[in-house]
Symmetry: C2
Subunit: 386 residues, 2 copies
């Protein structure tokens, strides 16, 4: 792999709040920058706002071309004109998470101590709740007192749950998708493999890698490859690649070559790794995986997840995908049960698919129809103009 | 992690065959060394021999203290006096696989070209069939024309299947355990992550790492950590570690520290990685994972696994473990069906356990009772003295 360049410095639309921002870890950030994008128009009642929360390696470019990758929005299938979240009707907001690398305050940000240095590994650890509080500051600034809906998949779904727990009066409808209320030991284990791969990279340089213009690309790529396997199901890998070889060489000796790209699935994974390092920062990966690992919503409520939602008037739609083994249906089911115990208004649908965790990002018409129907019903209940 | 030393040079018991050894890839090794251990006594009819095939990172020290780790045999629960494979009755043989790092010919061996150099990454790729042919040479040398039984788990089970297919008349009973007749796309993908982690290590040095007395320890450790997750079930990880923290620091700031050992499961994984590099060689890891990936027994028999076993008189016991997601029960079931189509004598048992793939190495009394009963019955059919 050619040594890739550090992530380009791009001017992302953002707001900076100069009041201090206190984190769960006890550190107070002197200022908070939230990079975000919006789609559609906020109505005069400010009642049609939908907040989208992105996943671990997502960003705020949910429904438009990303200035970093040049590719279309990561949830174009769900957000846009005529889509399940119709931007002709709703005002959609998506912010880069706190600790991210797309313009919000994170390890790549200057330290604000006048040194001009970046935070790097000195950036304090953040929690999912910190991420949500940063979004809340943005929402407050926009003058929105109640979000019509908050939705997101994977780590985005964790933020949705946290929103519903922390600010129940501000969330009319909550849609946690392909997610869990806590990170399991296996989830943590896979993240730890990725972190160790980053630490092992020759260019890691104790997290100060930008000083010599290098990035821990190979380690970050390995982290991504490992994580990517968990995003797909075994069935999807088999369907897409099976045991097919590519670049089949001329003779048996070459076929057995140890280092060439042999199986299609290997080539695919290497591609996933090498493109990822061009759009993501290693320190951000560490910060955000750590935030996921620490997420355990029930732990903040005496160990009973139902306590997080008692008395809530928020309407919930939980969605899981049958072949998702990262955040399996059982994880959504236990959230549904907690919501039931809390007396909440909850719908829960498991969608049959062989696409694994990534299904929430892919073309799943049943899922999209269900989203659209739920949102339509909620809009009626909320008294939004049709 | 302190930089560990390269694997110690230990004199393993071995035989060297100076006739050339032709590999599936087309290369002929000038000589073949097979390091092996035996337990029990070969009877005068040479009819009580049992061959144990080891897994990816196993070795020949199946039922005794390993001179490398100082720990007991890796299958002490199955092999030994009074054990399911009773060494008071059977003559047990276990050989380090071709391509391994415990004394059999592999990447650490001298090249035999007079240069005194090691093979390193020049070592030719080997297949599971090559491994089995190396074992066959050993068995021939020992004057054994028919093995009473061949057994092994995981990659060991692949060798068992290959033995039964290649040398049906030499195998009275075959016990492929927790294995598969081919490597799936997901299996290959996980191996590829491990290989990329090794290549990314600063001390990899294109596989010539022994030249400067260093080893790609961190990369190899990451490979092991990733693989180790696949050896355990999610349930086992949850039962053993859950979300428990260790070295709980004094204040919240430290609790959230990004780099300390935080969750018990992280500490456990790191330990797995750091001890592994003291007993295994990175080039051997590459060679052997590649051999697994290329394993697809049916492909050698016109795509129908049943063809591999037509007319066989070998008695089969297939064993799988309910929470094994690396080589799941479905993989064993498809082998059982192929054996049925081939008209073979086959028993197939799935053992309920939450221990995942590693269950085959652990204390599973039902599994051990089944092994013992099957072996006893086969011994009767084989006319072995009771």
């Amino acid at each position: 792999m050619d040594q890739p360049l550090p992530l380009a410095e791009i001017a992302h639309s953002h707001l900076t709040f100069v009041e201090g921002f206190a984190l769960d870890c006890g550190v107070t950030l002197p200022a908070l920058t939230v990079a975000f994008r919006t789609y559609g128009t906020l109505n005069s009642e400010r009642s049609n706002a939908v907040l989208v929360c992105h996943a671990l390696t997502g960003d705020q470019y949910v429904a438009e071309i990303s200035p970093v990758t040049g590719k279309g929005g990561w949830w174009d299938l769900v957000i846009g004109p005529g889509r399940p979240i119709d931007t002709d009707r709703f005002f959609v907001i998506c912010a880069n998470v706190l600790g991210g690398c797309m313009g919000s305050t994170g390890a790549r940000s200057p330290k604000d101590d006048g040194s001009g240095d970046r935070w790097g590994t000195d950036f304090p650890p953040v929690t999912i709740r910190d991420m949500v509080r940063a979004q809340k500051r943005l929402i407050d600034h926009l003058g929105i007192t109640r979000l019509f809906a908050v939705l997101g998949g994977s780590m985005g779904g964790m933020q949705v749950l946290q929103w519903a727990a922390s600010y129940p009066e501000c969330v009319f409808a909550a849609l946690p998708i392909a997610t869990a209320a806590y990170h399991s030991a296996q989830n943590i284990a896979f993240h730890e493999v990725g972190r160790q791969a980053i630490f092992a990279d020759p260019h890691w340089n104790n997290g100060q890698y930008w000083r010599d213009g290098l990035i821990p690309a190979r380690g970050l790529a390995v982290a991504r490859m490992c994580a990517h396997i968990t995003y797909l199901s075994e069935e999807a890998l088999t369907r897409k690649f099976g045991r097919r070889l590519q670049n089949a060489p001329k003779d048996a000796g070459e076929v057995m070559s140890l280092f060439g790209e042999m199986f299609e699935v290997e080539s695919y994974l290497r591609h996933q790794g090498s493109t990822f390092v061009q759009r993501f920062d290693a320190n951000a990966y560490l910060t955000i995986t750590r935030a996921c690992d620490f997420f355990d919503l029930a732990a903040d409520y005496d160990g009973d997840l139902a306590n997080a939602f008692r008395g809530t008037r928020t309407r919930f739609l939980l969605a899981s995908f049958s072949s998702d083994w990262l955040y399996p249906t059982a994880a959504s089911r236990s959230i549904a049960r907690a919501l039931n115990r809390a007396g909440a208004n909850v719908s829960f649908v498991e969608f049959p698919t062989d696409k694994g965790h990534d299904a929430f990002l892919l073309d799943e018409p049943d899922f999209h129809r269900t989203l659209a129907g739920f949102v339509r019903g909620c809009a009626m209940h909320a008294g939004l103009p049709g």
